[in-house]
Amino acid sequence: MTKAPTIITGTVGEDSHSIGSRLLSRVLKDRGFNVVELGGLTPAEEFIHVAKETDASAILMSSLYGMAEIDLAGFKDACIEAGLQDVLLYLGGYLMVGRHDWGEAERRFKALGFDRVYPPEVDLDKVMEDLKSDLHQRGKLQ
């Protein structure tokens, strides 16, 4: 039997909205993943530190206060610098302030290096399917 992949969850930056991240963590655990929950108000660099120490396969971040672009500027680069270039990066939530088209948010954050970007009301089953398929593709899941 191979080991269950380690997934890190949390709400990034100075955002304390952690309910979505908690729901996500529960679903991940139900699906047999090894989950490290960082909760609300987690600085971006903390995700990197924890991913290194735990050998994580994916980081699933949420942000609901519209500041994600500031909090996550350079995040992918920092991951590469830290040797985490193969770690999957998912982001979900209210990512931008003001009226905007969701497609615009998705484009911007994919350009920042995120593998998947989700709106706040996304179906978590869909996220699980994506995650399994992405991990499988990278040889981290049978």
Binding site: K3, T6, E14, S16, N34, V36, L38, G39, G40, L41, P43, E46, H49, V50, K52, E53, T54, D55, Y65
Partner: protein
Amino acid sequence: MVRRDLRFLIDFGSTFTKLTVVDLEEEVVMGRYQVPSTVGTDITIGLTQALRAAEDHLGRAIGEKKNLLACSSAAGGLRMITVGLVPSLSSEAGVRAALGAGAKVVSSFSYELTLHDVMEIDRISPDIILLIGGTDGGNKQVILHNAERLSGLQCKAPIIVAGNREARDGIEALFKGSEKLLVFADNVLPQIGVLEVDSSRDAIRRIFISHIIKAKGIDKAIGIVDAAIIPTPSAVLRAAELLAGGTKTEEGLGELMVVDVGGATTDVYSIAGGEPTRSGAMIRGLPEPYAKRTVEGDLGVRHNIDSLLEMGRLTGNLNERHFDEIRNRFSSPSKLPEDDLEFELDSLLAGVAVDIAGGRHCGQIKVIPAPSGELIVQTGKDLSAIRCVIGTGGPIVFARDPGAVLRNILFRANSPDMLRPKKAALYIDSTYALYAMGLLSQQEPDKALRIMKKVVKPV
């Protein structure tokens, strides 16, 4: 003549061999004696001299058969290095485990060791190496790499491995046939958010007793001393834990802090949970050990005069007027204050050390404005509700006004984010007996506690 039940409690220090004699029936400290250390030649010579000084003072009543307990910080103390993975996670957990065991962490490495690092470790030649890295089931590659590098060390320091448990087989294979002593302990960081230092602390203590004492020439005293010789800071930590927590029959003082100002370092101990006192505060960072020790190697009041002067200028405790006087008068490590001015200057230096070391030991909060109100994030221990701070070490105990030195640890309005004690009563270890009561507590915890309550005096 009634034969008294006495205990002889010894601290083999680098500069002095100190002896505290207590009467167990009366529960009092009979006397305190100190002679220059003879660790360079034969440690038992100094011990004999100290016992003779006690005999001269107390008379023959002290008898022939003596019950001796000892701790040691001689020959540089217990010098350790730690090798971990991420600085703020496993490396920091390793440093805390080592400090809690009474060690001096002379260097701390993170990530993969280079060949240059290995040469540096050989140059440092530590007493013990603590190898950590990876949560259980987490990163294994870095600790294996570092184990391989360490297997190539010239120095014979025992290695304690307390990292990812899955790396054990691989590490054992790397050291197969090696003469190096390899000891496995539980992972100091089994999961993110969980700090487990007890197993490593025990392993460090066992190796100190079985190997380090001998390597430092302190083992000559083993035949004379009744129990195992432990590192001095771990004796002080035990005393502080006992004084705070009490025993089954004797109540303790509750959560407390101890500040020990010395010539080479300033140590701070807190025996406290450090939970937030501000409602709604969220805690960030590595969990804190209940009994925590921090060591500031740049805040010794003799060895670090220049950095203390600089910090004292920044904090406003010292001004230019003091600089030359202090430099001229306190350049020698064994200098003791003699006149009024020297006592004043020595206390100012000690005050800076207490201020900075206390600030580093205590936690902090950061207040973040948010639409829903203020968010409070706490890192480290909240010690603002601590009711008792005890000062020890020569520069505090022998100060003309120990309270003035010790007050530097307290909360101040101009830096409200530092979680320093707000309303603590200040005490001094008047007979310099904390280490001794830590030793005695191994056999007689109730008596040790009652004696401490007598000798720890309010200022």
